[in-house]
Symmetry: C3
Subunit: 139 residues, 3 copies
């Protein structure tokens, strides 16, 4: 059995944004040498997500607007968490909707994804460097 670990560094220059990381995960699968297995991809930060959906800018604007409705950033006084001096209370809620991690099958040395399935990093408290973990297990 083989195991492979890799980190991606993300830097989203705005508070919120979505970044397609499918090519980097595909590259990690190649580097792992795994033919059949599983690839875990997770945000290492609790105000960010990794999720799978469509690479379509209109949809990403829909997500942005919808998440702001469900968990508005302002007023920051709305969240008790922000009494600690943070202003990212909303980001911890948005991340629960979009999820922390995805698990993708590896088949024939490749990510076993439908072409519309793309892996995204979702940032909800950006403007600093944050990490994504890729852990691959298989044969």
């Amino acid at each position: 059995m083989k195991s492979h670990r890799q980190e991606l560094w993300m830097h989203v220059p705005s508070r919120r944004g979505f970044v397609n990381i499918t090519p980097q995960v595909e590259e990690a699968v190649r580097a792992s040498g795994v033919q059949e297995g599983l690839a875990l991809v997770n945000a290492m930060h609790i105000t960010a997500s990794v999720f799978i959906n469509n690479d379509e800018p209109g949809l990403h604007q829909d997500y942005e607007q919808w998440l702001e409705q469900l968990a508005p950033h302002e007023p920051v006084s709305r969240y008790r968490h922000n009494r600690t001096g943070e202003d990212n209370g909303d980001a911890h809620l948005k991340r629960q909707i979009m999820g922390r991690e995805v698990l993708v099958a590896i088949t024939g040395r490749r990510l076993d994804l439908d072409p519309w399935e793309q892996i995204f990093y979702g940032e909800f408290d950006g403007r600093r460097r944050k990490r994504v973990l890729i852990k691959i297990l298989g044969i």
Copy 2:
């Protein structure tokens, strides 16, 4: 180590619906010959979910109504994604609430689930054939 891959074809005749796929996943575990391991079950489409909950029709009506409140189908002009000619913008949001995938332990050649835990396919843009992927890894 053993690896097993299988697809299920789904066809929900209405726009939205929930289908219990636990027997098919249990059958895939038997076919895999895996005694101890993990079974990934994921929707291969980005307007559908795989999730675990109770097989109770009243609850499914509650989910249907709740998801419509959180992300209404109409007016379809509400979603920028629908400017691409689609009318399924809401389905991409609903799927984020219900999730893309579940990972289930395999113990003693069986799905390691409490009896109330049933695996469902959640369709939010049906009336066509769509796929679910089962990937099993273990010994």
Copy 3:
């Protein structure tokens, strides 16, 4: 390859609450002897969650208040599921927001988590004993 299975018994004395189970999961990893692998941690009940976020009491109050807004407990007649005699319809919805399971990488015999990432059991229908499953696979 190694496989390890362990259950945790939870008892939250109120209807809802969050419990940090990171030490117990770390202990299970030690007990497994796995150096490199994956640890699945899932609620075995459909009115509870396992999720990863910050161990900060203000944030937990934010989650509590936010989940009550998204899926209020009362009036219990609001949910068709409660016609079965239950009063936990809301708990089945809250659990979908917070998720059923997390999958954590194991690296160098330890949970591969950022220090802010803590594993929580989220209870939405407590006052009785419920279980969490830990399943570990690796080398």
